[in-house]
Each structure stands twice: as C-alpha cells, then as structure tokens.
C-alpha cells in the first residue's frame, strides 16, 4: 500500500514537473455521464463549462470527456485528466463518487468537485442543488391543472435524490388537490429516450394527464405532445422547444455561477473543501418560464411559492407530515433537517406503491 503511494507520487511529481512549466492557464476538467447533446443533465453541465470559458477567456483551458461509464472506466478518465495537468476537476454524476475518491487520494494537489455525492476529502468538495424546491412548484401546478387527478411520474433510480423529488411534488399537489394520485414508473436509467417514451406512453394510457420526469431526455415531452392534452415539465434543462404545450414549465439546473466561483477560488488559491446544497435562492435551481397554457391564477400561486422558497420563508418539507406507513415524521411547523433529506428512503403518507428494494 505504502509502496503504491510512493511510486504513484513519484511518477506524478515527474508528470507535474514537466507540465507545470508551460502552465499559467488554469485547467478545468469535466467528466460527464451522458453525451453533451442530451438536452438535459449533461447539457446543462456543459453549459456551465462554456460559461467558465467565456467568463475567464484566456485564463482558463477546459477539457471534458462525455459518456463516461460509472465505475472502473471513470477512474481512468479522471486520472487521465489529473495527469494531463488539470487543476480542478468536476465529476458530474453520483456514480462517479468512488472513482473520484480513489483519484483524489492519489492527487492531493488537484482539486476535485463531485456532484450529488456525500463523501468529501480535503481536496474533494461535493455540490448539489435542492431540486426538490423546483418539484414543489411542479407539484402545485400539476395538482391544480390535472383533470383526471392522476399524475404520472417517470422516476430513474430509487435513490434519496429521486425519492425527495417525488415526495415534494406529491405534498404540494395534494395540498391543492386532495384527490390526487401519483403513478410512478421506475425506468432505471438517467437517459434512455426509448425507455422514457415507453414509460410516458404507459402512464398516459393509465389516465395520467400530467407527466413529471426525473430522467434527462425530451422523449416524454414528445410522447405527451403526441397524446395531446397532457402537460409536462422540462427536466434539468428548459426543454423550451416543447413550450407552450405540453411543456408548461421546467426545472433548470444552473451550474454556471458555481463553476465560475470555484474556478475563481482555485485561481486565487482560496479553494477549500466544502459540501454545498443550493436551491432557488442562490440560483442553482431555476424555474423555466411558466407558459400561457397555465391559468393566470395558478401561475401567480406558483410564482409566489417560488418566491417564498427563494427568500427562505417557506420550506417544502414543513410539518405536519407523516410517513407512508402512517408514523409521524414532522410535527406542525417543523422543518425537515438536511440529514434526513439527504438520506431520504421513504414516501410520505398518501403515495401508494413501494420504493423498489
């Protein structure tokens, strides 16, 4: 173990020495799980990368690798970027957590940032967005607009991130519509247009007239458009090409300010390991334009909800709330703590079905 360490650091010192000479630019690397043209998750991260380039101009060089499989291949891709002299590397998918840790331990002088994970090191930060705030807005609009009272939800993987979104959307839909019912399909993918389209069609056939998605492609939008009279929301990206119908609004991930700030910190030598979780207030979560397909009063309510979350006066997980099994979770006025939210593995009361296990 020790020998490994010695050898790698010797080799790295060698590698760094040769590259450091020619380097006055800050090199920022990005590891993407999907193609940059996915129109959703990776697309928005890449927009963040381009924003870094635009903001710093000649002072930075950015590199990226797309469609990196999660696992052993990711470790090589990240190592490779570190070897090529990257100063700061963003790994933008949950599945990159273990590989990022492994590489970060070998390159103590390179800064790493891992999106949506929970393991940090002195040279590895984690960052994520409070997407559940956006889900609250979606839930509200869905609850007000549905006629069949059935909301279809295309979920990706049963992880806390996704479960949180379902709960948040459900709580706010039920608040305005006690008759609401959620039908959830687990697609077990982040990006698979064919599967997502199938899921959307199946949900619509089961009577859903609102489709919420936690997958990244626009296929569900296309399926809803074909069915007609079904509303959807853009996921991760605005998906504005489907506005004003079926897409009536969207959750937009806006990574640009964060990426610029962290690059700046590396340049200034002030970069420190941190674990951040930002929401609508800091601009990491954006709500895409609410179209005219939404009645004006519903739109106003949605915007008010958004504003209340932005200024911190309202938290989407405020009691009284019970868990699905009927046990008490939050008392009247009590707000969920981040720890519980980060590890959320239960549905709130009223959602039928079980989280796959």
């Amino acid at each position: 173990m020790k020998l490994t360490h010695l050898l790698t650091s010797a080799a790295l010192a060698l590698g760094l020495a040769t590259t450091a000479v020619a380097q006055d630019k800050t090199k920022v690397g990005f590891i993407y799980v999907g193609p940059i043209g996915d129109g959703g998750w990776t697309y928005e991260h890449d927009k963040g990368r381009l924003a870094v380039e635009e903001h710093f101009g000649d002072k930075v060089e950015t590199v990226y690798q797309e469609s990196v499989p999660e696992g052993a291949d990711a470790e090589r891709a990240i190592t490779q970027m570190a070897l090529q002299g990257a100063d700061l590397i963003f790994t933008t998918s949950f599945g990159f957590m273990e590989p990022t840790i492994a590489v970060a331990e070998k390159f103590p002088n390179v800064k790493f940032e891992h999106a949506t994970g929970y393991k940090a090191l002195p040279n590895l930060s984690t960052y994520s967005a409070r997407f559940y705030e956006g889900r609250a807005v979606q839930g509200h609009i869905a609850g007000r607009m549905t006629k069949s009272n059935i909301v279809g939800y295309i979920a990706s993987f049963p992880i806390p991130e996704v479960i949180r979104g379902i709960n948040s959307a459900y709580i706010h839909a039920r608040k305005v519509n006690p008759e609401i019912e959620f039908k959830i399909i687990w697609a077990y993918t982040w990006f698979d247009p064919a599967k997502e389209a199938d899921a959307a069609t199946a949900l619509i056939e089961q009577g859903a007239d609102v489709i919420l998605q936690h997958t990244d492609s626009t296929a569900p939008q296309a399926a809803a458009e074909k069915a007609g009279n079904v509303i959807t929301f853009g996921q991760a990206s605005d998906m504005g090409e489907y506005a004003p119908m079926p897409r009536v609004s969207s959750i937009i991930d806006n990574w640009s300010p964060y990426y610029i700030a962290r690059t700046q910190a590396v340049m200034d030598g002030t970069w420190q390991s941190q674990q951040v979780w930002q929401g609508i207030g800091k601009g990491m979560v954006g709500i895409g334009e609410i179209t005219d397909a939404v009645p004006a009063d519903v739109k106003d309510e949605a915007l008010a909800l958004k504003a209340a979350m932005a200024d911190g006066s309202y938290h989407p997980f405020t009691g009284p709330l019970k868990k699905q099994d009927g046990s008490d979770w939050l008392a009247e006025g009590e707000v969920a703590d981040d720890g519980t939210l980060l590890g959320m593995d239960f549905y709130v009361e009223g959602i039928s079905g079980q989280i796959p296990n």
Partner: protein, 360 residues
C-alpha cells in the same frame, strides 16, 4: 475487370494479414472521419495508438491496457470455443454480471472477517455463477431445442435487472445513506483483487486471462476435445461419424464460456470496479465477441486482439479529452475495425483476378 475467384481452401497467409490490413484501413478511414470533424487526423491517430504505449504518461496507461484487456480476453477465449463449434453464446455480458454478483456476494457475506480463504471462495463463486447462467440456454437448447442465441441474449437483460435489484436491495451498503451500490471491496482487504506487483496493472484477472489463453491453445491443438470442437465447426456431419456427442459439446462450450465470463466479472467487481453498482457492466461481454472474431477465434490472436481493443479504448479516451473528439466518433472508429475486418475477410476465402486478359 476485377474478378473474385474462390480459393480451394482459405489462405493461411491472408488469415493473418487481413486483421492487420483491417487496422490499416481503419486508420485511413478513421483519419478521414477525424479530418471531417476538423481535427488533425495524424495527431488523432497518433494519440489513439501511440500515447497509451509510448506517450508522456505511458507509465499509467500501459498497466491500464492489461486492466481493460484482461476481461475482454478472458471472455473472448470462452466464447471462441463455442463459436468454433457453431454454438453461439451471445449472452456473455449476462454471465459476466452474474459472476460478479455471486463473487461479490460471497465477499460481502463474510464482511468484515479477514481470511486468506475468502478470495479463493469468491473466485469459485464467480466462476460458478457464470457457469449456472450459461447452463440455462444450454439445458433449454438440449431439452427443448431452443435457440441459444436468443436465450443467452435475453438473459443479459434479466441479469441487468438482477444487478439493479442487488445494488438497491440485498447488497446495498448499509453505511451508504440509502444510496445504491454495495460496499467498496477495494477497502476490504480479504476480498480485494489487488495489483500483484504495484504499478503493473497485474491483478488476478490478468493472470487468469493469460492462463486461459495457454489452456485454450493446448486444448485446441493437443486435446481430443479441441479436435472435436474444431471438427464440429468445420464439418458437423463428419464430426457425428467421428463419434462427437453434440449435447456434450454444447454443455462444455457454453459452460466454459459462462465460467470464464463469470470469472471476469468477479475479478472486475473485486478489483478495478470495486463495488456492485447499477451500471457495473459496461459491455465487455459484447465487445468480447468482436475480440474473438478479430483474433480469428485463435487463442493467441485473441490475446493480441484484446490488447488492441483495449488500446483503442484507452487511446480513444485520451483523444476525447485532449483533442475534444466526441465520444461517438471514437465508438464509430472502433466499429469500423470490425466492419473492415469482415470486409477484407473476403480475401481469405477468395482470390482477386484481373479478367482483362481475355477481353484483349
């Protein structure tokens, strides 16, 4: 006028020249593709083929070639036996997954006990898991005459669902805050398939791949079973007269392929990958089919083909991140390799004649 004339028997020379020719044509066509994308074709090709072997960071990439190539070789060797006998196991990916699950399952069951016996047990479990998964199409074929291509392929999707279920359920890391994925076996010494010699990339899976190559070579050239396999592929009728029992051959070929794929999965999950996760499998089982054919179904050929494939993967990644080439262009490049190989294969079985003489 060019005319194709069938050779009396496949040319031995061309059998070995065509793979090289295919690589050269792939380089040319790939270069044109990269040029069309606005990248320097020479630099791109050099990055893919030169950088991993002799570039500035070759000390890191060379071991990676073994890590990436070993599972491909291990699986392809198993597949090649069946392919030679006309038994088409397309589901190595599924056998790879199940082997990883059974292997990791044994390791995780013992956590946190430390013992030198745990790893050998995991190896056995991995091989057994892959073997069992391959026995499903084998037994169905023998009992009900089902098509092993379809059954083995469909079982890949079943295995993927099983993998997701395991990563989210029974094998989920209890300390993982509800996130999917098992414990990291690399942090559990008794179950860790570590490098045998630091910095070489040599782990037990690489050793197993080399052993498999040698065994397959001996089997095919010296053993009666190898003779039966070759005979069945070349002349099924003659094989039956020679006393080959097809049922036994199906069991042996599918079983061996399954066990080797299972081993590859087990070595991967306990080493380079480290944990059972939803996206653990990345297509080694399918790529190995290409490797098997690129290597002419010959053990030594497969060894070289596996390393070449690993080279295009690793070099391709370098080209992506250094030159900003899209991932799809690299995949296209790899696809061309098989495509051109199949295309120039015609030279093995046919001779090109110039027919102009007679006209004049």
């Amino acid at each position: 006028m060019l005319k194709l004339e069938k050779r009396p028997q496949p040319s031995r020379l061309w059998t070995w020249v065509t793979p090289l020719l295919a690589v050269v044509i792939t380089m040319l066509a790939g270069g044109a593709l990269f040029a069309a994308l606005g990248k320097d074709p020479v630099e791109a090709i050099a990055t893919i083929f030169w950088q991993p072997l002799f570039g500035e960071f070759a000390f890191y990439y060379r071991p990676q070639l073994l890590i990436k190539g070993a599972p491909l070789i291990l699986i392809a060797i198993g597949l090649s036996l069946g392919f030679r006998a006309g038994i088409w196991n397309i589901g190595a990916e599924g056998q790879y997954i199940v082997g990883a699950l059974t292997g990791a399952g044994v390791g995780l069951a013992f956590y946190p006990a430390e013992s030198v016996l745990i790893f050998p047990l995991m190896v056995l479990a991995g091989a057994l898991g892959g073997w069992v998964w391959a026995m499903i199409p084998a037994v169905l074929k023998l009992r009900f005459g089902t098509n092993e291509i379809l059954v083995s392929l469909m079982l890949v999707y079943v295995a993927e669902q099983l993998l997701a279920a395991m990563a989210l359920g029974p094998m989920k890391n209890p300390d993982g805050m509800g996130f999917p994925g098992s414990r990291n076996l690399r942090q559990y010494d008794s179950a860790h398939n570590a490098e045998l010699i630091t910095g070489t990339g040599m782990h037990w899976g690489v050793v197993a791949a080399f052993i498999a190559v040698i065994f397959a070579y001996v089997l095919l050239t010296r053993h009666s079973l190898g003779y039966h396999i070759r005979l069945t592929g070349q002349a099924p009728r003659a094989a039956r007269f020679a006393g080959v029992r097809p049922a036994r051959l199906v069991l042996v070929c599918l079983g061996t392929a399954g066990a080797l794929a299972g081993l590859a999965g087990m070595f991967e999950v306990s080493g380079p990958a480290g944990q059972v996760s939803i996206d653990f499998n990345v297509g080694y089982g399918f790529t190995a089919i290409i490797v098997a054919f690129l290597g002419r179904l010959h053990p030594l050929g497969i060894l070289l083909a596996g390393l070449l494939m690993a080279l295009t993967y690793i070099g391709g990644e370098i080209a992506q991140s250094n030159m900003g080439l899209p991932a799809a262009a690299i995949q296209l490049f790899q696809g061309m390799l098989l495509f051109f190989l199949l295309a120039v294969d015609v030279l093995t079985n046919y001779r090109i004649r110039f027919a102009a003489r007679e006209v004049a």
